[in-house]
Amino acid sequence: MSPATPSAEPATPKASWWRVFRGHQGRNLWYIGFFLPFLVGLVTFVYIPMVWSTYLSFFDARNTIQPTRFVGLDNYRYLLNDQMFRNSLGVFVVFALLIVPLTYVCSLGLALLLQGAKWGQAFFRSVFFLPTAVSYVIAAMVWRLSLFNGARFGMANSILRQLGGENINWLGGTTWWYWPVVISLRLWLQVGFYMILLIAGLNRIPQDTYEAAALDGATGWRTLRYITLPQLRTSTVAVMMLLLIGAFQAFDEFYNLFGSIGSYPPYARPPLVHMYLISLGGTQQDLGLGGAATVIITTIIVLFGLGQNWLLGRSERKERG
């Protein structure tokens, strides 16, 4: 349609730019109509604050968003010299190393079990998914006040004593016992969600691949190792990435498990919690410091993502020869 001969149909030059702009059947207008509201929201609520907080990070911006005192890289220097900030990155690494593989294995295990279940699939899928609907804050309260209360009537301690053990002060920080509390909490909350993602992935694997494998004599573990896992690669990559980002964003459960009035212990402190405490804790509003911390944390997440992409891409390239 586009290469219309000019001699046959002399179009008025005025209308032509509009026609080009509209696109075929007004496609461009539709595109703009659908896309613009989203773009406006994105710019207003995501990009402007991002750029602004980067701008603020170079200023002494306490209780103001129009700072006047330029301090250069002082905020960054402060954070990078802050022992506790570096410790918090260590907490993230430990947390991620524990929660990411554990959630993946448990979610995959549940997904495979459900896949093989003869009855009650829908029921159990809902049951395992339900905790996802619970708020982190509420779950943290239940974990802190009733399940893992350090007093003798905490549920975990009651069971321990029944078994002849001693009371454990779970969250007290003198021991490492707080890790099982944090890990079990997040595992319980998120395992169902990732199970659903993996079930979706499993459903996409063609049934005849399994049939062919069965004809070749592959069963049980061998099917899992050579058929299911390789076919599930894209879902695995997505799930791992989401888990890692989720681990980096850990805030709610830590804050509500360990925080007290106006104080938070120095242990079990992931980056976001530390950043919150030193920039917005109490009544203060140090937006410059907060901005700098945001930039540093974002940089780390981006580097992690690029690294992971590169690693997975490399293994894929290797596989293809």
Partner: protein, 435 residues
Amino acid sequence: MIGIMNLNRRHLLTAASGLAATATLAACGSNKGDLGGSTSATTGSTGSSGGAKPVLNQWYHEYGEPGVKEAVQKYAADYADASVKVTWNPGDYGKKLGSALLTKDAPDVFEVEQGGTLDMIQQGQIADLTDIVKPVESQFNPAVMKRFQFNGKYHSIPQVVDMQLLYYRKSVLEKAGVQPPKTFAELTAAANKVATGDMGGFFAGNDGGVGVLGTLFIWASGLDQFDEARTKATFTQQQFYDALTAYRDFSKTKGLLQSASKEWYDGSPIANGETAMQWGGLWSMPDIQKALGDDFGVLPFPAIGAKGRVAVPFGAFGACVNAKGKNVEAAKKFVSWLWIDQEDKQVEFADAFGTHIPSKTALVQKASKLKEGPGADAAKFVSENGFTNDIMWTGPLGDAFGAAVTNVIKKNADPAQEFKKVETLAAAELKRVKG
């Protein structure tokens, strides 16, 4: 500090959303205000009474006790020279106020813990109230006024005072043959003597007390946070380190109850008989009284070491005026009327709903709950032994301090080494906040 308690308990619950929301709203809120020009507040004010009376917006955080909201609305309605609109702010009041003060929608009158932060003063967010407070300063609790003054100026009028203190079970201590402890050595001895399998000796939180007691070790060992000119930390001395190691030794005995059903800011542990002594808030006194009747007494935190002194931490909400508001003069008149002149209202506000201490010394006698018994003792402690964080005790500094205290008490770190870092940070922070 019931205010602080409520705020923070809710704060725990709303932390997650608060974090995200503040960061975004702080940027966007003011952005909108600046670009949009007129705000809804201005349109509202012209509508009511032909512009004769100025309209003042007043903010409170949510007080937990029933009746407070109605009371402050009544106070506002009683004021003749302006029409005062009260906004009750459930949720994270501190963050909400902080964000609002960056915009043109900020309230004209609002309450702030400890009478305003250093940043609020330095950024010119709260108006100088020296001319109305100075003439009557001697009427107020001296410990509170010392804290409310900055560089010889007042930016706030104290509303009510809250505090923390030591509760003990009279009958339990008597039965064990121990006196209510005046020194830390007596406290550890008493706690260990009364502790049984069912009842702990002393409880100060499920973190072993390090969170809430931290700065008390400074004051109770006879030291202060900074020197007079606020140039350096002055507590990094042997007597403070000895206090920490004394508490560390205590925390390894059965006398210190490490875990209870609730936190220190709830009266339940002592009321339920989980512990013989508990560090708690004045706000818990009605609950404890209900459960134990006369069988309890109160004390300040005991003195630690040879140069030690007893101490109680206090907190006070103060009424502030928005320096960038439209009716600064009218707002100043209103806070002066409510928090300086209207003594009946001040007594009612402190006494009728919860248990707070009126900020004017003479009014303490008029508060029914503070006339006699433990209430009267508590009120006396604030005036005589009251301490609170210095205005330049910044968030990062408090955080680093808390971390060092935890490391010493829980991880057996060497205090001198731990606090060397805090000392360096304190000097840097003091320099930084002075600008």
